[in-house]
Amino acid sequence: MKGMTLIVRTISRIVAGPIMLFGIYIVLYGHLTPGGGFAGGVILALGVMLLMLAFGKEPALKKLPERRASLLDSLGALGFWAIALLGFTAGYYFLNFLGKGSPFHLVSAGTIPLSNISIGLKVGVSLFAVLAALSVYRRYTSGEEPPEEED
């Protein structure tokens, strides 16, 4: 991936910020409006992918190396599991142990926003890792190595 022309770069530089902001909004307001951790995480990954397609893979991988990506991925999964385990402090597995708060407010619904945030982190970073793996670990580029698995 070399990156694209100046027009594509300029527009994606302008648009990528609002896309990521919208993804964060979808994750944070998942318990109030349609959306949630999964959809918001995919939107975050798509924002990073837009930058990867426009600028080439090096700037994006410099910001988020594969090792840190897998670390964040595991942190998201472990965070969701830890929220599940913390339910034991008040009773049973996956108990919503925090206070409910008043409905239709941002801080409400106990552990649901925290689960949304951890799922959004996990989904976003892991889908970014898929495209990074498909482009970084490209094994046969120009006949340097014969394609073994193909055909």
Partner: protein, 176 residues
């Protein structure tokens, strides 16, 4: 009713799109037809009153379109050649006919669409807000009532990405 006309038009568009995606010789047109099917499915979810699933469907369709385009456009030869086997086509047609007849008989006995709301979902709708405090009932079901399922889905995604990276990596492969 106006709504059902739009819905049936979308459904027939999806059927035509899937047939084109399977039958066309050009891989690029096939990918575009698959995207057409996915986006129409997102719009029909929206018409059925399920904005959560519609958002996920549209967003995942964009992601799959990017990955499929990158996988197909990079190859020099994007056309595929295939030989039509009469035996395979004949068996497929026979099984399709059997399936359509049986599903017609089964669908006749089904209750009308969306009419008797099931008791479990009625319980969720009545008591969900008081029990969880979440205004979005889909999220309340996903992350509170059925959070164990969501943990399983997160594990599936985690393991599949682990497998993708393990297959695609270059370092650590045994030198041949």
């Amino acid at each position: 009713m106006e709504f059902s006309h739009v819905f049936y038009a979308l459904l027939s568009l999806m059927v035509v799109g899937s047939i084109i995606a399977v039958e066309t010789k050009d891989l690029l047109s096939s990918v575009v037809s698959v995207a057409l099917v996915g986006f129409s499915m997102g719009v029909s979810f929206l018409l059925l009153g399920a904005p959560d699933i519609a958002i996920v469907q549209v967003v995942m369709e964009v992601l799959c379109l990017i990955i499929l385009l990158r996988a197909t456009v990079r190859r020099d030869d994007t056309t595929i050649y295939k030989y039509i086997e009469t035996f395979a086509v004949a068996t497929a047609l026979i099984f399709l006919a059997v399936f359509l007849i049986l599903s017609y008989r089964a669908f006749k006995d089904l209750p009308p669409f969306g009419h008797p709301l099931m008791t479990v979902s009625g319980e969720y709708l009545r008591n969900g807000l008081a029990k969880t405090g979440a205004a979005n009932m889909v999220t309340a079901v996903l992350l509170d009532f059925r959070a164990y399922d969501t943990l399983g889905e997160a594990t599936v995604l985690f393991v599949s990405i682990l497998g993708a990276i393990a297959v695609l990596r270059r370092r650590g492969r045994k030198a041949r």
